[in-house]
Amino acid sequence: MTRPPGTHLSADEIDSWLSGNLSQEWQQHLDHCQACLERVRIEREIVDQITALPRLSPVIGFADQVMASVVIPDPFAIRSLHATQRRLFATKRSLALAASLTLILLGSMAGSIAWSLTHQDTLASIGNWLVTQGGQMAWLSLRGVASNLFEQPWYSGLRALNPLHLALGSGVATTVYLGGVLALRRLLALPNQQVAHAGI
């Protein structure tokens, strides 16, 4: 960098001087210029004071405090119960939220039990009504299915079959079904062979 005649050190040159990179030309100027020399002396003094500031440390156990709120990724992408637990107890806010949810859950359970105990008659009548309704609905469904079956065109033919033919037909159908299942199982079975290069 060439120095225009009559000029003094700029902020950039002072920076260069502070980091020991001032060009020879500027260094020569500095050797003879009292104003610049005074300026860099003061700058050096300030920088030395800043550099000498004490190294401050956080409290002992800072890392533990941080780690209590850090969720470490599970290599198998399954968030472990431990991590969830740590997250839950990480901050006062999450702890308060968890406590509130637990209170609501336990409160509603306790309320439900208390109500049931004091309103047993109501519960019994509701239970009876449900059983009656359920029974009626089941009976109606069964009747619907049965009447549907009786109306099928093949039902009269089925009724005409004698029990021996019926038993024979069922036996053949069962044998074919079991044969199919066995064949499928053989087809889907993995080859039971060791993998040589894996050493297992």
Binding site: E43, I46, P58
Partner: protein, 201 residues
């Protein structure tokens, strides 16, 4: 690395981050060990309150480590963590500045009595024994002078001369053009020079 346990000293920040990403808790602790002091020191000198600086430092590390997957290794880890920490400090200082505006009373107060009632309630605090201890810890004219600088100047001067970060990295941390960083540092040094000269008088 030998017998499965990394020799941390030989690993770069990027290597440690990779181990952290693979789920090694020790790698997280190593990153904290490497940066807890510089990050805390920066924050303490920015906010000048030990307890608050610790909270902000904790917030910084939790935020960074929980988002370790979003860290881009082509940048320095130090730049990333300092950036998160500095943003936390600047955000806090801006919020505090808004609170300090309330010294004159709430802008929503409709009567002079209401103005007076809301005045000095936010931001006003008395010097406690803890403050005195902190003032001593931050003691010295230079600490006071740094504390009086604009937050942007303070970040620049601390990163440059306390943490020894190069101008380019400071520009990256503070998201400022290189020229602006240089200007801020020069202005900060000028203000420090004037403040110290005034104190000497």
């Amino acid at each position: 690395m030998s017998s499965g346990r990394p020799e941390w000293g030989s690993l770069t920040d990027q290597d440690v981050v990779l181990l952290a990403r693979s789920g090694q808790e020790a790698a997280y602790r190593e990153l904290i060990r490497r940066y807890e002091r510089p990050v805390f020191a920066l924050l303490f000198r920015m906010v000048r309150d030990r307890e608050l600086a610790e909270d902000l430092a904790q917030e910084t590390f939790v935020k960074a480590l929980n988002a370790i997957d979003s860290y881009r290794p082509e940048f320095k880890f130090s730049s990333w963590i300092f950036k998160i920490g500095n943003n936390a400090a600047i955000d806090h200082l801006r919020r505090r500045e808004l609170d300090t505006l309330s010294l004159d009373g709430s802008p929503h107060a409709e009567t002079p009595e209401a103005m007076q009632a809301t005045a000095l309630q936010i931001g006003a605090r008395q010097e406690s024994p803890l403050d005195t201890v902190e003032a001593k810890e931050l003691g010295g004219a230079i600490e006071a002078a740094i504390g009086a600088l604009r937050p942007e100047y303070r970040s620049c001067i601390l990163l440059r001369h306390v943490e020894g970060r190069p101008y380019e990295e400071i520009a990256e941390i503070l998201n400022l053009p290189l020229g602006t960083v240089k200007t801020y540092i020069h202005r900060a040094r000028n203000e420090l020079r004037e403040a110290l000269a005034h104190l000497k008088e």
